[in-house]
């Protein structure tokens, strides 16, 4: 690349680049001058919004990073991004906790003879790797590169690195590899990929096991598509699963089938719809026979419902079937995936709603078989240098004994972000920069390139993975296009795109590219052969109870479990925050005379674990449920055909221990106790206006801020609560305070179950009541009502009597029992637009008053009123489904006015006459 081109690209991409980091200790009480003024558009004390891409899971959501004085203070979903369009899940919100994690690896480290890590320089570290690679080549041992799912230019660089340095690249490691699905699609259509499912175009969605809202491929995208689909009147969603997931809780109907009977159900549906004649007879012949009665017996579903389901599928105009998650993580997983592919083909989904042209780019991901082979090679001393990230060591099933076997590699080089247990399995630790400190790109889906651009200068002496690989190549004397990874990237982009595209890429943070159509032809013969090999196991004979290890919305596959915010946020279904627990059906609990927190020993073979129980309404009696990352030592086998982890243990033994454990359960009750918070069926009406009023009326002149929360769209994912923590400097208080009921969340999601075990979620936050019970009881006027309808808490007035909290019917006020401290450097993510609360102060949701202030400032500059939609609260911004709307109730053209006056609008505890400013929209 020409120097001129490079400078030009630099110009395009580095407008408003990093501010010099100010704010060291010397600057307290000082004014520090700039040496040279920052770029145009950068104002001291004003936030800067820069594009990036989330790296917390493989979905690759677009980010907007809010930067204040060189510090990243908040992450938000990037509006318009093809994956998440503004929404961001709780893990994405928590990614800042990884950036400022106290355990961040700060410099390259080498383990010395005593097993202690000693810091070394990057020069030394890279030389060691080069030397190690050379030695291994001489000894005839293989050098290996193992990474998680990698896309875009970095994937290309990895291939180049491996080619040039004779390093073998292992298939990429993801524990959620979706290997069975990919293998099935490869057999059926020659596309060993994960398709992009178009939920928003379907009129009937049948999902089988796939945890669409938790971890399945691209959860924020699915939630967003769901929110679009549900706005169509005829959208129906049936979710079938053996356990209980957040996804199931949100479906129009959740059907519970016996664990392992998915294949039988799919066979039945295939046979029922055979009349459509889309499948060759030789293939149909290979599909296991399944009569309605037989299927009903195996699956445990009523026969009428089964037939009805098959009919619904047959009659639907645009049906969509999504299978995955637990359904394919079992011994029959590959068969389930094959049958699902066939059903998708039979009902005409493939190509349209099951879109392979925009496949999710999992082609280079391997399966646990690859890890098995690696373990074998390690055992045989055939591995020289192993360059890997920490994920395989943290997540590989214990049966592989990877932690023991990896010691036999010549040199173990870890590319790590955190200095945790998994990282300490390596000899040489190379600190990897956080995505928002790095240059890069990601192609999370075919036809999409998402930008990573450093929003802040690296906090430590870390480098991006690309820089490390390039550094090793340079040191080995390989000529590479680009001295730095940034230059390498610019080169790659320069080759692919023209000026206009580059400008767009830089400004919007992503580029959509045309995709070529993918030829899809059903390969009947290999498919039939493959199906015939798969025996229809009589699964129901497997002994109950079954222990199902579910994916976790909070930690994905365990990779995010180290982030403090995600332990503080409760699990959406059980509302347990810290610790691990076993979900059991109320029927099982009754039988064993157990209640919440009682200890139960579960054992299979030689393995056993003691877990406190948590009652999960709606869970099948034969099923126990635990989040997989919390029980990583469970002896889960690897499916020999698909190479996926089998996430179910059959015939577990249960033993009541008689003790109870301390388990923080944040919700007070799993039932609404007839109080009609979510008015189905109970709802108490508002009192008639002629009743005596104790409260003065509040006049509102220009604005009356109000919020509408559409419960039909609320999926209970907790993204709003996470966003609230991040925006408002809400302290993470830890397990002990949770046990004492002293959590600080300003916004919580309450799961409520009805008698049939159906869940509804309601986000609960300060209702900003018009007649607020908290206000008159405050002896120092710290709680008062302002002219714009906000219920304000003045921290400097508050003396901590807690009368307000006692008088609040919604339990949304939080008291600071401590002077909460953020462990350094976590305090760097503090939002400076908001003060930190001291000990002894009451705090609560402010309706993001700092954002209102910011919007007002902008509006005043332009001498206009604040427009509708201009103030986005942090919770509303983050919501993947757009369930939370904020605005001015006095403006009759505003969205919030329209929603507040909808027939579905109601207010919680309206009968108390508090007149909340939050309007909920009931379902249906």
């Amino acid at each position: 690349m020409e120097r001129r081109d490079f400078l030009q690209l630099l110009g395009i991409f580095s407008g408003a680049a990093i501010l010099p980091g100010c704010g060291d200790k010397r600057s307290a009480g000082k004014l520090v001058s700039y040496l040279v003024p920052p770029d145009e558009g950068v104002l001291p004390g004003e936030a800067l919004y820069l594009p990036s891409t989330c790296g917390e899971c493989p979905a690759g959501c677009g980010l907007t990073v809010r930067v204040r004085e060189g510090r990243a203070v908040k992450l938000e979903g990037r509006p318009g991004h093809p994956i998440n369009d503004g929404g961001l899940c709780m893990r994405g919100q928590a990614a800042l906790w990884r950036l400022y994690h106290p355990k961040r690896l700060q410099r390259p480290m080498l383990r010395d003879a005593e097993g202690q890590y000693q810091p070394i320089s990057w020069d030394e570290a890279l030389s060691l790797v080069v030397e190690g690679l050379r030695q291994a080549r001489q000894q005839g041992r293989a050098n290996l590169l193992l990474s998680g799912r990698t896309t875009g230019t970095l994937a290309e660089l990895q291939r180049r690195f491996c080619r040039q340095l004779e390093v073998e690249q292992l298939p990429q490691f993801e524990i959620f590899s979706h290997a069975a699905l990919r293998r099935a699609y490869g057999t059926l259509f020659g596309q060993a990929e994960l398709p992009h499912y178009r939920i928003d175009r379907a009129d009937l969605l049948l999902s089988l096991g796939a945890d669409l809202f938790e971890t399945f491929v691209s959860p924020v995208d699915y939630a967003r598509q769901f929110s679009r689909a549900i706005k169509q009147d005829d959208f129906q969603w049936i979710h079938v699963e053996p356990h209980y997931s957040l996804t199931g809780a949100n479906a129009s109907e959740r059907l519970v089938l016996s664990p392992g009977s998915e294949a039988a159900l799919l066979s039945f549906l295939l046979r029922w719809n055979d009349s459509k004649g889309r499948l060759p007879t030789q293939l149909m012949a290979a599909v296991p026979a399944a009569s309605a009665t037989e299927t009903a017996r195996i699956t445990g579903l009523p026969q009428e419902r089964l037939e009805q389901l098959a009919e619904q599928l047959r009659l639907a105009e645009r049906p969509l079937l999504i299978v995955g998650g637990i359904a394919t993580a079992q011994a029959q997983g590959l068969q389930v995936a094959l049958l699902a592919g066939l059903l998708q083909q039979q009902l005409g989904m493939v190509g349209e709603l099951v879109d392979f042209a925009r496949a999710e780019g999992y082609g280079s991901v391997g399966s646990l078989h690859d890890l098995e082979r690696l373990a074998e090679r390690l055992e045989q001393d055939r591995v020289g240098v192993l360059i890997s990230d920490a994920a395989p060591l943290a997540q590989a099933p214990g049966t592989l004994e990877l932690k023991r076997k990896i010691k036999r590699a010549g040199l173990r080089v870890g590319l790590c972000e955190l200095f945790d247990d998994a990282a300490q399995q390596f000899d040489l630790l190379l600190p990897i920069s956080h995505p928002i400190e790095s240059w890069g790109d990601a192609a999370p889906r075919r036809g999409l390139l998402s930008l990573l651009k450093p929003a802040i200068a690296p906090l430590y002496d870390s480098r991006s993975a690309g820089e490390v690989l390039l550094g090793i190549m340079h040191r080995s004397g390989k000529e590479e296009p680009g001295q730095t990874y940034q230059e390498y990237l610019f080169n790659a982009w320069h080759r692919r795109f023209d000026q206009q595209q580059l400008r767009q890429f830089s400004e919007q943070g992503f580029l959509t590219l045309p995709v070529a159509a993918v030829p899809l032809r059903l390969k009947a013969e290999p498919a039939a052969r493959q199906l015939a090999v798969e025996e229809v196991a009589e699964v129901v004979s497997a002994a109950a109870p079954h222990l199902i290890l579910t994916p976790s919305i909070r930690s994905f596959d365990g990779r995010s479990s180290d982030l403090p915010l995600l332990s503080e946020l409760p699990d959406p279904l059980s509302s347990v925050s810290y610790g691990r627990w076993l979900s059991i059906a109320p029927a099982t609990a009754q039988q064993l005379q157990l209640q919440d927190r009682d200890l139960l020993r579960v054992s299979v073979g030689n393995w056993s674990a003691e877990l406190p129980v948590r009652l999960q309404p709606g869970l099948a009696a034969s099923v126990l449920m635990v989040q997989g990352d919390l029980l990583s030592e469970a002896p889960l086998p690897i499916d020999s055909r698909s190479g996926e982890l089998i996430r179910r243990l059959d015939g577990v033994r249960l033993e009541k221990l008689g003790d109870a454990a301390e388990l923080p359960i944040l919700s007070g009750s799993s039932s609404q106790q007839g109080r009609g918070l979510i008015p189905d069926p109970v709802h108490t009406e508002e009192p008639s206006p002629d009743e005596t009023r104790f409260y003065r009326a509040h006049p509102h002149k220009d604005y009356r801020w109000a919020m509408a929360i559409n419960l039909e769209l609320c999926i209970g994912c907790g993204a709003c609560a996470a966003a609230c923590y991040a925006e408002n400097n809400v302290p993470v208080v830890g397990r002990q305070d949770h046990l004492q009921g002293r959590e600080m969340s300003w916004l919580r999601i309450e799961p409520f179950y009805d008698d049939a075990g159906r869940a509804s979620f309601i986000p609960m936050l300060c209702q900003h009541c018009h007649n607020a019970p908290c206000e008159p009881v405050c002896p120092v006027y710290a709680a008062y009502h302002n002219a714009e309808g906000l219920n304000v808490q003045v921290y400097q007035r508050c003396v901590g009597t807690r009368y307000c909290s006692n008088n609040c019917p919604y339990k949304v006020r939080r008291f600071n029992w401590w002077q909460h401290r953020w462990q350094a450097p976590l305090e760097q993510m503090h939002n400076p637009d908001l003060s930190l609360r001291d000990r002894g102060i009451m705090e609560k949701c402010t309706f993001c008053v700092q954002r209102i202030r910011q919007a007002r400032d902008r509006a005043q500059d332009e001498q206009r009123p604040i427009e509708d939609g201009e103030v986005l609260t942090a919770c509303g911004q983050s919501c993947p489904t757009g369930a939370i709307v904020f605005g001015n109730l006095l403006d009759e053209s505003s969205t919030v006015y329209r929603l507040a006056h909808s027939k579905r609008a109601y207010r919680v505890f309206a009968d108390l006459g508090t007149e909340p400013s939050i309007y909920y929209l009931r379902k249906g």
């Binding site: 010397r26 600057s27 009480g29 000082k30 004014l31 520090v32 001058s33 700039y34 040496l35 040279v36 003024p37 104002l43 001291p44 004390g45 004003e46 008062y784 302002n786 002219a787 714009e788 906000l790 304000v792 003045v794 921290y795 400097q796 637009d833 908001l834 003060s835 930190l836 402010t846 008053v849 700092q850 202030r853 400032d857 005043q860 500059d861």
Partner: protein
């Protein structure tokens, strides 16, 4: 007895007077805070004699919450050629050439929990001197206003500006 009481009374009276005067003097020193700066920058010369507008150096005052202190390159724009022989300018040049920022002592500091926007006040046509005093006549800048809530509110009330708590308390 009577004389003793009288003497005590006189001593007490004058003692109290001295105490009050001393207290006031001490308070005044804190109130009209000043500090020795790393570079003795005379506002009197720049803003007074040369009549440079405030935003010539505090360039963000109309655009942002913080007025901003001039970057060293801004200082050097002029002082590359002006008054280069003076000791304070040499000090400035040394800072600039070493690439070190100057850590100025801060006189006007609001608590962390206060939202204050220079831009809003400038757009409301409040003269800089209303809060910062006549810096054009100050050799060394000192604080002339208390910057306390009561003082802020007095002006807000007088001018009919917002007095809601959330206007300033964040």
């Amino acid at each position: 007895m009577y004389r003793l009481l009288l003497n005590l009374g006189i001593v007490g009276y004058f003692g109290l007077f001295l105490l009050v005067t001393g207290g006031l003097a001490a308070y005044w020193a804190i109130y009209q805070q000043t500090a020795e700066q790393p570079i003795a920058f005379p506002h009197r010369v720049h803003a007074g004699q040369l009549q440079l507008p405030c935003n010539f150096c505090h360039r963000y005052v109309e655009q942002a919450r913080q007025a901003g202190i001039p970057s060293l390159s801004r200082c050097m724009d002029c002082h590359r050629s002006i008054a280069t022989e003076r000791s304070e300018i040499k000090k400035l040049t040394r800072y600039f050439e070493a690439g070190q920022p100057v850590y100025w002592e801060r006189l006007h500091q609001l608590p962390d929990f206060i939202y204050f926007s220079h831009k809003r006040h400038i757009k409301g046509e409040i003269p800089c001197a209303a809060c910062h005093g006549e810096v054009t006549r100050m050799e060394v800048v000192r604080r002339v206003r208390s910057l306390e809530m009561g003082w802020c509110l007095a002006c807000h009330r007088e001018r009919g500006a917002a007095t809601d708590c959330t206007t300033c308390h964040k």
